[in-house]
Amino acid sequence: MILRELSEAVGVSGNEGDVRAVLLDAVREHVDDVRVDTMGNVLAFKHGTGRQRMRVMLAAHMDEVGLMVVGYDDDGFLRVRSVGGIDPRLLPGTLLQVGPEHTPGVIGVKPIHLLKKGEGEKVPKLEGLVVDIGAKSKDEARKLAPLGTYATFTTRFRELGPTVSGKAFDDRAGCAVLVELLRGERFRFDLHAAFTVQEEVGLRGARVAAYGIEPDCAFALEGTIADDIPKDKDVSPTTELGQGPAITVMDRSFIADRRLVNLLTSTAEELGIPYQIKQPGIGGTDAGAIHLAREGVPSVTVAVPCRYIHSPVALLRLDDFNNTVQLMRASLSRLTQRTLERGKD
């Protein structure tokens, strides 16, 4: 499964090279053209059958959240800052891979035995944490991990029955969906796939990719938050595992094009594919940048629900993944210029 390889590849924002290499290998044989743009986006092109003169953009981001080395302690510890949003509650006790050699590093905190009263209630701040790679001095640490070195979690991809676990499902799940779509039959329209960089630091790659592609409409493919864990108050789970692909109507980055939402939901209902509407107002995706490209691009986001994104290990259901691929393929097969006519929204 391509998701395994993608999940285990390292690609913190601005340093997506390993993921890029996996994707170039995965799609090259299945597309008519593939190139890497100035930002590092992988742009793949697949001719349509010619029956619809449309340019459709499908985007999934390659980058994941991580850490960057910004300094050193005298005893050889690394000081770090986060690249993208990392919940500081997750960091103590984690195992990291540091730099291009995947040097192991760990984050530990003051032992529980030495905590003063109340001290154990607080989450240590990132500024106070250090990464231990075993270096003995500042000089050795600097040599092994120069300033600007990236680090991320070390997590193997695992199968847990109907579920899989691994790191960086946000958004390697979306990348894997997009690879599956590229490996299938041609659509009627011209397909422009963008595996984007730097989503986690502000949707940077998608912005330039969408400008270059100049699409008639766009779909951002994501791995999104599922908060279906038991809780005290009966509040929305955002999305739930096992309930099918999550369609975004509105999040913090954009309002989805209702015609594309309708295309997805009506296709799902006719074919009996489960789907869910993501709780509005939460999160943001590449669609937030794409829909503002040039004069604007009708856009929508479709996501595989994932528990514990931005953490060392996320979980997703394989049937949600497969249903996302199926829903996308079926909806894209029905997508025509008429879908985007006004009066249908």
Binding site: D75, F77, D87, R89, L90, P92, G93, T94, L95, T103, P104, G105, V106, I107, G108, V109, K110, P111, I112, H113, L114, G120, E121, K122, V123, G128, V130, D132, I133, G134, A135, K136, E140, L144, T154, T155, R158, L160, G161, T163, V164, S165, I225, D227, D228, I229, P230, K231, T238, G242, I282, R307, Y308, I309, H310, S311, P312, V313, L315, R317
Partner: protein, 352 residues
């Protein structure tokens, strides 16, 4: 024996307090070539005897390193998610996002989870997750979870040992498998060495929940002299200077009421004679180690503590310098090799 592969096998074995079987099985096999006999204590401690050559009745030295580790236990099942509590001093600040193994009807991989930060009020995001907000997620449908998991099932931390730079290693159970490794190295070095005393190497159980294995095994062995081996705090930012020891500085020898000064002196002399670097760990009272229990066994046992400095204790990244484990092993072997039949006489207090 290479210390790093040994540490890897020991650290990765699962042996939560009261459930040390996998470690015991490994040690039975590993110690077998080096000892004369082995038995299991009533609570499960592994007690190995390597006979001395002194005339009978031979005095007995007990080495104790605990083989149990901290962990988690299932307390309830809700919507297919497992509620958890801790076994031993598990630190909840390091649990979130950890991979675990739930020892149900079969071993189930899982993840320690809580609600994502974006749905929490700011003050909750800045607090360590309380126990009642943690769940273990095994990714299976509710019915399946209820079939495979029962309240009371154990949950082990899943963490491979990794090798850092400078022969430093990080793993989940260096406390106290590092010292189990040191004892193993000492036994290996003593192969073919003619020592006077009987040596009882004991891998104790249930140290993390109150020194239970040491209390019972020490009664059973009834040693004349004992050395407990445990980990002590390694130096790193955030830890007070006086509480911690640099990695690579050698094993620490405890001083204080828990330890017999005569035995401490001998350990220091042996270290110096063999050019083994060591550090002094002043412990003004309760040492929190097996030594605390062993010292008051039966009519009392002169006891010492040799410790390996470990950073981030009770966290899944317990980090140490492999060299310190090797040195602790050498110190034990050298101490044992030089132990005279009449050593106890020299331990008498000045005024007796």
């Amino acid at each position: 024996m290479e210390v790093i592969p040994l540490l890897k096998q020991l650290s990765e074995a699962d042996g939560i307090a009261g459930h040390e079987e996998p470690v015991r099985v490994f040690l039975r096999q590993t110690w077998q070539p080096f000892v004369d006999e082995m038995r299991e204590g009533k609570l499960g401690s592994l007690i190995a005897l390597k006979r001395g050559i002194g005339s009978e009745p031979r005095p007995k030295l007990m080495l104790a390193a605990h083989m149990d580790e901290i962990g988690l236990m299932v307390t309830g099942i809700e919507k297919g998610f497992l509620r958890i509590t801790r076994v031993g001093g598990t630190d909840r600040r390091v649990l979130l996002g950890l991979e675990v193994v739930v020892h149900g009807r079969r071993d189930l991989p899982g993840v320690v989870a809580t609600r994502p930060p974006h749905v929490l009020p700011q003050d909750e995001r800045e607090k360590a997750v309380p126990w009642d907000k943690f769940f273990v997620d095994v990714g299976l449908p509710t019915e399946e979870v209820e079939r495979l998991v029962t309240v009371g099932d154990l949950i082990s931390i899943r963490r491979e040992m990794v090798e850092l730079k400078n022969r430093r290693v990080a793993g989940k159970a260096m406390d106290d498998r590092a010292c189990v490794a040191a004892v193993t190295l000492a036994l290996e070095q003593l192969s073919g060495v003619r020592h006077a005393w009987d040596v009882f190497a004991v891998a104790t159980v249930q140290e993390e929940v109150g020194l239970k294995g040491a209390i019972t095994a020490a009664y059973g062995v009834a040693p004349d002299l004992a050395i407990a081996l445990d980990v002590t705090f390694g130096k790193h930012p955030g830890v007070p200077e006086v509480d911690a020891f640099p990695l690579g500085g050698g094993p620490a020898i405890g001083v204080g009421p828990n330890f017999h000064p005569g035995l401490v002196t001998r350990l220091k002399e042996v270290a110096e004679a063999h050019e083994i670097p060591y550090q002094i760990d002043p412990i003004p009272g309760r040492s929190g180690t097996d030594a605390w229990a062993i010292q008051v066994t039966r009519e009392g046992v002169p006891t010492a503590l040799v410790s390996v400095p470990v950073r981030y204790m009770h966290q899944p990244v317990e980090t140490l310098a492999a060299q310190d484990v090797e040195r602790a092993g050498r110190l034990l072997a050298a101490f044992i090799a030089g132990l005279e039949m009449d050593f106890m006489e020299g331990l008498a207090w000045e005024d007796s």
